[in-house]
């Protein structure tokens, strides 16, 4: 904790972070969280007063991609501020101590900060064969997860693997891997899927928690709506080409060079919810579709099995009957526009429902019938 009477903003000031940079950071967070501007004052005020809560980060059957991702936190000052916002006391990939000293750091938090700390979990948890497929300090992942997450104020599952087992749980799931929510039911949890998670979103969740004392509104998968409430396809910068029937037909062809729609190359954008096109990656530099490759729908449930093969066109195109061969779509301009209109309608409905704090269906099978209901 900070010394008595010292606020975060004064602590930041003492460490060379100016008030202006602090407000800039808060402003970026408000935008990412899709909060109305009037909340900026509240975020600034709340963070300015915060005492540093403790955070621990556990890695199980992981690739550390989510850890690496957070190191690339997109806003120039985000990591700096995160280190000052929270006391980040356990994270194997970057912490100073190892072995006994690392174990002691974790145990201190579990015992002394019981019920008050946040835990981030990265990687799947293997349940087969007594959990022997992942041990840390001789203890199984499930044993550690139960203890550490069970005693936390809230858990944040980052990346596909911590959400639903991800790649590790893809068929035939050799190690019986599951996500955190299934491994340790009943905990307060928010899921931040993606392969990896986008650090801008994860940081935004932390800020939301520090500001309002609760996790942000989520869908039925406990994913925050601000990041997972809209279709990629609706936010895509290539959308106009889709609507106009201009498609990449071969890698490197004219359409590919001119930034046309990647639907025919297997893009899963029409079935994927995530805020990639807006938040982008690596200081908002780019995202996969901008860089020339289709979306994998990496924030969708069990995407490794349900969205692959990744180069196969989506069998059912929004706005078309299932019988329409995909190859004809580019030729049917009117149809495409009609499909787009329906999609927009659905997206608005999703947004409206999101505002009403009800939860939109995950990866909805978009078709005209659904639209009529919405």
């Amino acid at each position: 904790m900070l010394p008595e009477g010292q606020s975060l903003s004064s602590a930041l000031k003492a460490r060379g972070v100016s008030r202006r940079r602090f407000v800039e950071f808060c402003s970026f967070m408000v935008a990412t969280l899709a909060l109305p501007d009037r909340f900026l004052g509240q975020v600034v005020e709340a963070l300015g007063k915060a005492r540093k809560p403790v955070l621990v980060w556990l890695q199980f059957q992981d690739c550390a991609g989510n850890s690496e991702s957070i190191l690339r936190a997109s806003h120039p000052t985000v990591l700096e501020v995160v280190l000052d916002l929270l006391s980040w006391e356990y994270h194997e990939i970057i912490m100073a101590g190892a072995g006994k000293q690392a174990e002691a750091a974790l145990q201190r938090v579990v015992k002394e900060e019981k019920g008050k700390y946040l835990v981030v979990v990265e990687g799947a948890i293997p349940l087969a064969d007594g959990g022997v497929y992942c041990t840390v300090a001789g203890r199984t992942a499930i044993d550690l997860a139960r203890e550490v997450c069970g005693n936390a104020a809230a858990s944040i599952a980052v990346g596909a693997c911590a959400w639903d087992g991800g790649l590790v749980a893809a068929k035939p799931n050799p190690t019986g891997a599951v996500g955190l929510e299934e491994a340790v039911p009943g905990i307060s949890i928010i899921n931040m899927p993606g392969c990896p998670q986008n650090p801008a979103n994860t940081v935004a969740v932390l800020v939301h928690y520090l500001t309002f004392g609760v996790l942000p509104a989520t869908d039925q998968y406990h994913r925050p709506l601000f990041a997972y409430g809209r279709l990629i396809h609706d936010q895509c910068e290539r959308r106009a080409h889709y609507d106009a029937g201009r498609y990449v037909e071969d890698w490197g062809d004219e359409g590919h060079r001119r930034g046309w729609c990647l639907y025919k190359m297997g893009c899963k954008g029409p079935q994927a919810t995530f805020n990639c096109p807006n938040v982008r990656w690596n200081d908002q530099t780019s995202w996969p579709v901008k860089a020339g490759h289709g979306c994998l729908a990496c924030a969708s449930h069990r995407f490794w099995d349900t969205k692959s093969p990744f180069y196969e066109r989506l069998p059912q195109v929004p706005g078309f009957g299932v019988d329409v061969p995909a190859g004809e779509i580019g030729l049917v301009l009117t149809g495409a526009v009609a499909g787009a209109t329906i999609l927009h309608g659905i997206a608005s409905a999703v947004r409206d429902r999101a505002r009403g704090e009800t939860r939109p269906a995950e990866d909805q099978k978009i078709n005209p019938n659904d639209s009529a209901k919405a």
């Binding site: 060379g16 991609g65 002691a104 840390v136 199984t140 994998l296």
Partner: protein, 570 residues
């Protein structure tokens, strides 16, 4: 005497456990164990080989991109596909960018705290720190005021009593030898390096859409379409300018911050030029093709092996000479566990026979790791930057010789000093310098092609699986930042029949083989002095000098389709 256990080994990727026997103040024997297993190669079976790279890239998020590259090369090798020169260049830019970014993170964020006592920075005189900084480099951030501000930041952290990631460090350990001023300098550069890597990796965002886990590889080339006249082309003149600007920053940072810091730290720890040697055998597949994958003579980093520390001879390397043992690994071979197998015959039946968790010690006489033991002509090998620099040095590569000799003369050390813990650190830094020089050159070549109208990024002749033979097999490789990486793929009826990866950290961190030959970590830890068995920072120094990546290292192919339910826990 005492059996020391370090688990978790932190500041690495993944789950590594070291057990070491310590007698008379030094390590007399050591065992390295990988304690996590996912089975990614099993999951790959039956899937589309064209997307194997998407899956295998997730083997590791620290060495993101490296498995993607090895994978597309394996499938291209199997199907006889040659990629256009632009794809080769884009891949080289991505891979060399990865070297620079990964090596910088390794030195500052994964390794430095073994040598730097953060708390001692509080005792530094900022004015003297400024003098020290200016005596070793022209880097502009070197004023007294700058170091005072950094020191105040550390002070604020310490006074808050919430030391965050630094709370568990070995502060005050007698093995720390840097003066307070050097500690303060290192802390400042720890923070600057975080900023540097975040900016520099935007090269990957442009060429790969995002980092970690780039998304623009294709079997046959890259999805980064190029056009000199299209504002929305993934590669166009505006993007090239952006890439060039960022690439320049790397050369400056590496030459003015990283290299001087390594030299300064090494100067205070010269004992470590004589410690942590290990095997004395070094392997490099070579990489960075510049005239197609088949012309190994034009690789920017040469292929070869050095045996028994003999730098006068570079042995040829053929992937057929690679085999893997499971004698001390939690797998079993149908023909018995005492013979090695080439990855094409890769057969791995997982069988956990370790202690039931929670446990205190592994049974190191039997099987004790999820890593297998790769061997080259039945010999354990070290892989990584030191191996690559030694192979290049011994092969007579002029640029590498100049860099290596320059550093050795500055440190007043003989070439044999490189066979050590500090040697690995120095070789990694030199390689970073070499590649930081190279990134802008390859971007420039790409730009020339763009301007001359060569816009090919993909060879689509074999994109359609209908064009493939009924069965095919291939080998793909990459010299990843941590060392020699190989992917072996077998394709049948347009699907993956068998897939196997032999990964850098498996070479380095693997357990003993059938002959009882130690792996590289195990050998390197012998004779390591341990001042305080409760705080074995010396073990971390040598292990970290290899830059372990355990997520990469643990893998399996299950050619026999054995059910995992048969795994026994005892």
């Amino acid at each position: 005497m005492a059996r020391i256990v370090v688990d978790p080994v932190t500041r690495i990727e993944g789950h590594l456990r070291i057990e070491a026997q310590v007698e008379g103040g030094s390590v007399t024997d050591a065992w390295s164990s990988g304690t996590m297993f996912r089975g990614i190669e099993i999951i790959l079976r039956g899937r589309d080989p064209r997307e194997a790279w998407i899956w295998t890239q997730r083997i590791c998020g620290v060495c993101t991109t490296v498995h993607a590259l090895a994978s597309v090369r394996a499938v291209e090798d199997a199907l006889g596909i040659e990629v256009p020169p632009n794809a080769e260049l884009i891949r080289n830019i991505i891979a060399s960018t990865q070297y620079v970014q990964d090596h910088v993170i390794h030195f500052y964020h994964l390794h430095a705290l073994d040598w730097v006592d953060v708390t001692l920075a509080l005792k530094a005189d900022p004015a003297k720190t400024s003098q020290l900084a200016e005596s070793i480099s022209n880097w502009p951030k070197s004023s007294r005021a700058y170091f005072k501000a950094i020191q105040d930041r550390v002070k604020g952290l310490v006074e808050s009593k919430q030391l965050s990631l630094f709370s568990s460090g070995y502060w005050g350990h007698p093995a720390y030898h840097l003066p307070p001023e050097a500690n303060l300098l290192a802390v400042a550069h720890y923070i600057e390096a975080l900023e540097f890597q975040r900016e520099f990796i935007r090269i990957h965002a442009v060429l790969g859409g995002k980092n970690p886990h780039l998304q623009t590889y294709l079997v046959g080339g890259m999805a980064s379409a190029m056009d000199p006249n299209e504002p929305h082309a993934p590669i166009n003149p505006e993007r090239i300018t952006f890439l060039s600007e960022i690439a320049k920053t790397a050369q400056t940072f590496v030459e003015q911050v990283y290299i001087p810091d390594v030299l300064a730290v090494a100067g205070f720890y010269r004992d470590w030029f004589g410690r942590g040697e290990g095997l004395g055998n070094f392997l490099s597949y070579g990489d960075y093709p510049q005239a197609g994958i088949h012309d190994t003579s034009r690789y920017f980093l040469p292929r070869g092996a050095i045996l028994g520390r003999d730098l006068t001879k570079v042995h040829p390397v053929d992937p057929a000479q690679v085999s893997e043992y499971v004698t001390h690994s939690w797998y079993e071979y149908s023909g018995g566990d005492s013979a090695g197998k080439n990855p094409y015959d890769g057969e791995t039946n997982p069988k956990y026979t370790g202690p039931k968790p929670p446990f205190e010690h592994l049974d190191v006489e039997e099987k004790y790791s999820w890593l297998k033991s790769p061997r080259f002509v039945d010999t354990p090998m070290e892989v990584g930057p030191l191996s690559r620099m030694l192979v290049a040095y011994a092969s007579g590569n002029a640029e590498v010789k100049e860099l290596v000799n320059g550093v050795l003369s500055k440190l007043n050390a003989p070439p044999t000093a490189l066979f050590s813990t500090l040697g690995r650190i120095a070789a990694r830094a030199l390689e970073t310098q070499l590649m930081a020089r190279q990134v802008p050159k390859w971007i420039d070549e790409l730009n020339q092609n763009l301007n001359h109208g060569d816009l090919r990024v993909h060879n689509g002749e074999k994109w359609d699986p209908a064009t493939w033979p009924k069965s095919a097999q291939g080998w793909g490789f990459h010299e990843a930042p941590r060392g020699s990486l190989g992917h072996w793929v077998q394709i049948e009826d347009r699907a993956i029949k068998n897939y196997q990866c032999v990964v850098p950290t498996t070479w380095n961190a693997g357990p003993r083989d059938a002959k009882g030959q130690r792996g590289a970590y195990e050998a390197a830890l012998l004779k390591t002095p341990i001042a305080d068995p409760d705080r074995p920072v010396e073990i971390l120094r040598t292990i970290h000098s290899f830059d372990p990546c355990l997520a990469c290292a643990v893998h399996v192919t299950n050619a026999q389709g054995r059910r995992f339910a048969e795994v026994q826990v005892r």
